[in-house]
């Protein structure tokens, strides 16, 4: 019988491969000796060919099932991604992130417009009537600030507030207030045709506009610009990146082009996620700036300088970094 002879001839090589797979699973690919490393690809190919033969000639279901399983496990062991975590992060920051951002220029423009529309409308509403402030800004974000605050109140509790006793807490607090969650939602919910991304960006802009108007009325416009800008440049930029990445997801859903939706997501989704992943790092950086450096640097001029410097820095990074092809 063909299948019987086939099994007798090949069985030893299957068991050898199985042993190698088990060894890699238990103690990693480095535990293989050089002889074993040489054998592995040969055994892998031979298992794949055994599978093809078995499918063609054998009616022994247990044998075909076993070979199917062996070939799959061998494939997964063989093609497991070699990963140097540090090198991956480095190449992501040097090239992957700015390249992924540059690929989303139209989306970035739309996100920026959405943010501006939100900011202008928030400003216009509160500028006309300060009562809007309490409607637009959630209480936990307003933190006691509102139409009743005087210029002196804002100065002491906010703009010139001293360094908190526990800077780590302040940073953590900032990171987990509101913004990070909204940012992740802006990205994830973008899957729904991108509409939530745009709405959430407009909403974030509205809050910013409301705050600007509140301070503008009390003659604190410049001081507020420094107070927000020192971290806000980085944070708002991250927000725009999240929104752009979210819109990209929505675009894939609505216009998968020549691919099926699932395939379109598989091809383009990770690229959009790269932008969001980099933006998470930017949020963390913004939180450090906001939680510690903003209070440590009290001069409005210095704050504005940092804001402008960070704007220039990010612009240069995103437009210049990773231009040359990777080595």
């Amino acid at each position: 019988m063909q299948s019987l002879r086939f099994r007798r001839e090949r069985e030893a090589s299957w068991l050898e491969l199985e042993q190698l797979i088990e060894q890699v699973r238990e103690s990693g690919i480095r535990s293989l000796s050089s002889d074993q490393l040489e054998r592995f690809p040969l055994l892998h190919r031979s298992a794949l060919s055994s599978l093809s033969v078995a499918r063609a000639i054998a009616l022994d279901r247990a044998l075909v099932e076993y070979l199917d399983n062996l070939a799959l496990r061998s494939f997964l062991t063989f093609y497991a991604p070699p990963l140097d975590l540090a090198a991956t992060v480095r190449s992501f920051l040097q090239a992957g992130f700015p390249r992924a951002v540059r690929a989303l220029r139209p989306h970035l423009a739309i996100a920026l417009v959405a943010l501006l529309i939100g900011t202008i409308s928030g400003f216009a509403l509160v500028n006309g009537h300060e009562g809007w402030f309490t409607d637009l800004v959630p209480a936990e974000l307003a933190g006691g600030r509102g139409p009743a605050s005087t210029a002196a109140d804002l100065m002491t509790t906010e703009i010139a507030a001293p360094v908190p006793p526990n800077p780590f807490d302040a940073i953590a607090n900032v990171l987990f207030s509101h913004n990070t969650l909204i940012a992740l939602l802006t990205f994830g919910l973008g899957m729904l045709a991108g509409i939530p991304s745009i709405l959430l960006t407009v909403y974030q802009g509205t809050i910013l506009g409301a705050f600007i108007a509140l301070h503008y009325h009390r003659g604190l416009a410049l001081a507020f610009a420094g107070w927000v800008g020192i971290h806000g440049v980085t944070e708002l930029l991250a927000l725009i990146l999240f929104a752009a990445a979210g819109m990209r997801l929505g675009e894939i859903l609505v216009f998968p082009r020549e691919l099926s939706r699932a395939d379109a997501f598989a091809v383009h989704g990770p690229q959009a996620a790269k932008v969001a992943a980099g933006a998470v790092a930017m949020l963390a950086l913004a939180a450090v700036l906001e939680g510690y450096f903003r209070a440590a640097i009290q001069s409005t001029d210095a704050r504005l300088a940092i804001a402008l410097l960070s704007l220039a820095g990010w612009t240069a990074y995103f437009s210049l970094s990773g231009r040359t092809p990777a080595r």
């Binding site: 093809s52 009616l59 044998l63 799959l72 992740l184």
Partner: protein
């Protein structure tokens, strides 16, 4: 192929969906898509580990606090929880090739949907949306202080949670939103051992070609399953099957009860050899109805 699936259905295995994955070598591999129940089990295990890890981290912070590094505050705890729950999945799926501890226990693995290597971007993509899919709505439902007073406020959030958890049931590959974005799929990789060959060296009973015309591949494989599972206590069933086969193929000689198993094994061997030969000659007989 259809005969194999038929046998799978009949013997009650193969409850997972099957998908073909073409390797870079060009060989289609049969992968079993992990079912939702397994995924939920793996996630729950991971969730327990995450809580445990967060708790350990806070305990360490608490110990440091005695050393004069400031106390643990709510923001620090929230921060730790956020970092742990987001870094956990990314870290393990990156360094352990798509296997988190929970998935390892259940026997699941994240792989690239199109047979390539699992890239870091794909891993990050499938986990960045976890916050949106699960953690955020879950926290809203659990934490919202006024949802007992205003239960309808929980409705949209509950709906959100329901939608994201039902999504895997709405597609063949059991993809959740994160899998869709990342181009990944979660598969079950059970470990199969090479079972013993059922065909013995020596035959007691011999069959003529005429007697082997009656059955096809489907019946052969069901018989294979019966023989592989036969243990003490199944003798009446085996006798029953042997009787039916004897009637069908027109076997007139008597078979003593103690030889039932030998008879079935010999019949299996002869039938398999016959059907393999027929298949080799281009006459694949999928089941006993092949002639019609």
């Amino acid at each position: 192929m259809s005969a194999e699936n038929g046998a799978e259905r009949l013997v009650g295995r193969g409850w997972r969906r099957i998908r073909m994955l073409v390797t870079p070598d060009g060989v289609p591999l049969r992968v079993e898509v992990a079912e939702l129940t397994e995924r939920v089990t793996a996630f729950s295990l991971d969730f327990v580990f995450i809580i445990f890890a967060t708790w350990l981290l806070l305990l360490a912070a608490f110990a440091l606090a005695f050393g004069g590094f400031g106390g643990i505050t709510l923001p620090a705890a929230t921060f730790a929880a956020f970092v742990v729950r987001n870094a956990y999945f990314v870290f393990f799926e990156l360094t352990r090739a798509g296997v988190t501890p929970g998935k390892r226990i259940v026997g699941l693995r994240v792989i690239d949907r199109n047979g390539g290597a699992l890239t870091p971007a794909a891993v990050v993509a499938r986990n960045l949306s976890r916050e949106m899919e699960t953690f955020f709505p879950l926290a809203m439902v659990l934490q919202s202080p006024d949802w007992i007073a205003a239960p309808w406020e929980a409705v949209p959030v509950g709906l959100w949670l329901l939608l994201t958890s039902v999504l895997p049931l709405c597609n063949r590959d059991r993809l959740r939103a994160g899998d869709l974005i990342g181009g990944t799929i979660v598969i079950a990789v059970p470990k199969r051992v090479l079972l013993d060959e059922l065909v013995a060296e020596r035959h007691t009973f011999t069959f003529t070609d005429e007697q082997l015309q009656r059955y096809g591949i489907l019946e052969l494989q069901v018989l294979e399953d019966v023989l592989r599972r036969s243990v003490l206590g199944t003798e009446p069933l085996l006798r029953d099957i042997a009787g039916k086969i004897r009637r069908k193929i027109g076997w007139t000689n008597a078979v003593p009860d103690r030889d039932t198993l030998t008879f079935l094994r010999d019949f299996y061997a002869a039938q398999r050899a016959f059907l393999e030969l027929r298949k080799h000659l281009g006459d694949e007989r999928t089941d006993k109805f092949y002639q019609r």
